[in-house]
Amino acid sequence: MALLEVEGLRTYFKTQEGTLKAVDGVDFILEKGHAMGLAGESGCGKTTAALSIMKLLPANGYIAGGKINFMGQDMARVTGEKLRAIRWRDISIVFQGAMNALNPVKRVGEQIAEPILLHEDVDKEVANKRVKELFELVGLNPTRVREYPHEFSGGMRQRVMIAMALACKPRLVIADEPTTALDVMIQAQILDLMKTLQRELELAMIIISHDLSVLAETCDTLCIMYAGKIVERADSVEVFRNPQHPYTQGLIAAFPNVKGERVMPGAIAGNPPNLIEPQPGCRFAKRCSFTKDICLNQEPPLVEVLPNHYAACHLVEPR
């Protein structure tokens, strides 16, 4: 059985202007020990989809429908103590902007020990020992556990955040833009670490990023999201070599490639649609250069177009 099965997930936000459909029907399956990437422009719902799994939505957000089957439990319906027992013990998260996600007035060691003490019946000594092990695991000097966040650099703080996410030996780690604020060299260090940990600990991971090449290097499968929906899903190499959806093609073309020829990257004209009153038909139709009549009226379903390669576009023939 898969570790995580998300089916028809819809997450909405109540706003003054109306209900914002941030995630509107998302399906995916994540196997144990696999890494999946969620990519898309800002506002496409990738973070909201991931936060829904942990039910970490802001007060005006709610899961309007769908199932989130995590190890036999429907996370969409779990509440209270049961939910708290799962959070961080089974699913943990590395937050976006890790530099600012740590408590500045608490020693980092204590911050990492906190979930261990909360979730497991162990004493402080055992927890502290684990913290030191975790420090070593993520490549930090264990003698620094008693220091404060400001004494660490950005990349090191990101390592602390990863150590914290691993504190209770979770099955699934969600990483929300884990390297976005970091320099390319530090990014390489962190990605390297994440790959090693994932392999060694058999972690399942969901990595959220707007940077497709980061995901391609770290993930087994890739989901491209647009306006609250998955428009393409396949093996990450396959997505790059053989993108089917015009949006995916546009996104890939928008990245300058230093290994390739020196050409100006392409752009996708226009803006993402309003998600309060989405237009009928394909949500990408207004920005797509291949729009036909059917695209404006009928929403394309996500179908298998090549072996294990799914796309939601009227232009590609189902397999």
């Binding site: 060299m185 546009g250 990245f255 996708i268």
Partner: protein, 369 residues
């Protein structure tokens, strides 16, 4: 050969480290954060010159120091662009009238060419800045949310008392918005920053820089806050502006991919110094300095067939208030030698226009002939 527009020579920007009371009593040595520590380059007319490097390497400070938005500690910045002659003539005449210089010296100054930006008075600097403008990184933070787009773009005109009346100003603002690709300008003028998209905000930033009709623009990470899908639109806008207005750019970015596709020449900075500089294609495709090699090797590549061995440097950049002796890069360099720890490498040419500061290359005979 294209003419130079800006020449920067041995530019230094040091910031004093504040000392505590006790330290100042004990009169410990004043420490400096050497953000920019001896940077030399020239930018030609219609050229896009790119400064790349990790955060904290001093690339933004260099850009700001050229415009004197931070005061340089040492070195020279000279302007050779359009309007130079008139400005210099006027300055020399004033100085002559005041008997500050004699005829001989006046002639020498005129001959040397280039307006020394660091020596300009506050008043002259203000008019100089009409030719030198900057586009800031974050279009979400750099625009005043309480001002309409018209007010934002017109502000430089008001500050510099340009335009006899409101109608004339409106005409210039309209033109700037049009040049920045906000068309038709009438639809945007009276909106507020929150009413337009991220890409359009950055265009407002560009319009604000264009309204004074500058010749040289510093673009400080103008696309790093934007979604990938709209980045190249802004880059193309800048290329168009170069074509139509003959603008020159100092383009500051941490993204080597953007530098690769967009710039004519690129300089890689590390800890306040340029370690490698040359034509973009040469530097990116055939990097010579170990730091540049490492930086390029760690750019994520989607296709596994393109992937090469990554050179992941250990540690993070050292503290610019405590610069290592010798080559600044030696504590992280994979091919460090003894000489690197004690002696700072000179910049040598490895091919025409492509210079590198590294002992390894000097030993291999670069720059000898």
């Amino acid at each position: 050969m294209a003419k130079d527009i800006i020449s920067v020579k041995d530019l230094r920007v040091w910031f004093q480290v504040r000392r505590g009371f006790i330290e100042s009593i004990l009169s410990e040595e004043q420490k400096y954060v050497k953000a920019v520590d001896g940077v030399t380059f020239t930018i030609k007319e219609r050229e896009i010159f790119c400064l790349v490097g990790e955060s904290g390497c001093g690339k933004t400070t260099t850009g700001k120091a050229i415009l004197r938005l931070v005061e340089p500690t040492g070195g020279e910045v000279a302007y050779f662009g359009p309007g130079k002659e008139d400005m210099m003539k006027e300055m020399v005449e004033v100085a002559l009238a005041k008997d500050e210089i004699d005829e001989d010296k006046a002639e020498r100054i005129m001959e040397r060419g280039g307006i020394n930006i660091r020596a300009l008075s506050k008043k002259r600097m203000k008019s100089m800045r009409q030719k030198l403008q900057i586009i800031f990184q974050d279009p979400y933070e750099s625009l005043n949310p309480k001002q309409s787009i018209y007010d934002i773009v017109a502000e430089p005109l008001v500050v510099n008392s340009i335009g006899a009346n409101e109608a004339e100003r409106e005409e210039r603002v309209t033109k700037a918005l049009d040049d920045a690709g906000l068309r038709p300008p009438k639809n945007f003028m009276w909106r507020y920053p929150h009413e337009v998209s991220g890409g359009q905000r950055q265009r407002v930033g560009v319009a604000g820089a264009l309204v004074l009709d500058p010749d040289f623009l510093v673009a400080d990470e103008p696309v790093s806050m934007l979604d990938v899908s709209i980045r190249s639109e802004i880059l193309k806008l800048m290329l168009d502006l170069r074509e139509s207005k003959g603008l020159s750019f100092l383009f500051i970015t941490h993204d080597l991919g953007v530098a690769y596709v967009f710039s004519d020449r690129v300089a890689v900075m590390y800890l306040g110094k340029i370690v490698e500089m040359g034509p973009t294609e040469k530097v990116i495709k055939n990097p010579q300095h170990p730091y540049t090699k490492a930086l390029i090797s760690v750019i994520p590549t989607p296709d596994p067939k393109d992937r090469e061995e990554k050179i992941i440097l250990v540690g993070e950049r050292p503290d610019p208030s405590d610069v290592p002796p010798g080559c600044r890069f030696h504590p992280r360099c994979p091919s460090v030698m003894d000489i690197c720890r004690s002696e700072e490498p000179k910049s040598v040419f490895v091919s025409p226009g492509h210079s590198v500061s590294c002992h390894l290359l000097i030993m291999q005979g670069a720059g000898k002939s």
